[in-house]
């Protein structure tokens, strides 16, 4: 008897927080620190998650459209959910076995709370 492999990422708490942040405004492009601030996670945590989601095709990213020499700073990398990714993320969050409010004791910001949640 073989167990079916899940097609999405492991829905850890940080992954759920990142997805909820991105889903709060699915059409908005966000850069790493913005996502960190939105999800309330430290910066080292989100890049592996973003890499995994991007690898799965849930996210797409692009460089900021500036000339670093003119601006005197490096370009930011902007992330956005793909249409399919947003759909998959919603489904995955709804099916996630680890529910955020139960673990975080209802301390989530309203934008990150699941729809119909009790937090």
């Amino acid at each position: 008897m073989s167990r079916k492999k899940p097609s999405g990422p492991r829905m850890t708490i940080p992954t759920q927080l990142v997805l909820r942040t991105l889903l709060a405004e699915p059409t908005k492009e966000m850069y790493g620190l913005e996502i960190c601030a939105g999800a309330g996670l430290p910066s080292g945590t989100i890049h592996p998650i973003l890499a995994r989601l991007e690898g799965l095709g849930w996210l797409e990213s692009r460089w900021e459209d500036i000339k670093p020499e003119d601006e005197g700073r490096p370009r930011r990398r902007y992330y956005q959910l793909t249409t399919d990714g947003a759909e998959s993320a919603r489904t995955a969050l709804a099916q996630a076995t680890t529910q955020l409010p139960a673990i975080l004791g209802g301390t989530l910001r309203p934008a990150l709370r699941p729809a119909g949640g009790t937090a």
């Binding site: 790493g32 910066s43 945590t45 995994r52 991007e54 690898g55 990213s61 700073r73 490096p74």
Partner: protein, 158 residues
């Protein structure tokens, strides 16, 4: 047992020293910001002296033009001086973290980390917070390397 106690004491002392250093740096930054905003207001008031409307055919007297130019240059220099610098050690840590990644992704993430350090510096984050950023990248880098090398990975653009 003794080693554990010594290590614990050492760790507590390190944290306490770091906290004291951070508070002092934060206080210095705050007073520098206040001083800068006070000077900016003064300079803007002085600049406004030059903003009288010109009569038709009248040119700005060279002395006034030179004075306005000096004030502008002075302001730019001050802004540059008081803007928190990017921590070189933090950049080194972030670049080290990026070097652990697969070759195809190295440059992309090195630039991304540098951009985030720049954003941190511009938002007023001092040396300790930038160092913390670099250390956190190192902490999560093996996980990221694994994610980037995963066979399930489709088409992330480098």
């Amino acid at each position: 047992m003794a080693t554990t106690v010594i290590s614990a004491v050492f760790a507590v002392m390190t944290v306490a020293l770091a906290a004291v250093g951070y508070r002092q740096a934060e206080r210095a930054r705050r007073s520098a910001r206040e001083e800068l905003s006070r000077r900016r207001i003064e300079q803007e008031l002085r600049l406004s002296e030059f903003s009288r409307p010109l009569k038709p055919g009248e040119s700005i007297p060279p002395s006034e033009l030179a004075a306005a130019h000096n004030i502008r240059v002075h302001m730019q220099v001050e802004v540059k001086v008081t803007r928190p610098a990017r921590s070189r050690s933090a950049i080194g840590l972030a670049e080290f973290a990026a070097s652990v990644l697969p070759a195809s992704d190295r440059d992309r993430y090195a630039e991304e980390f540098r951009a985030e350090l720049q954003d941190l510096a511009q938002s007023g984050a001092g040396h300790p917070r930038q160092l913390l950023y670099g250390l956190r990248q190192i902490r999560g880098i093996l996980q990221m390397r694994y994610a980037l090398r995963s066979p399930r990975r489709k088409s992330a653009t480098p």
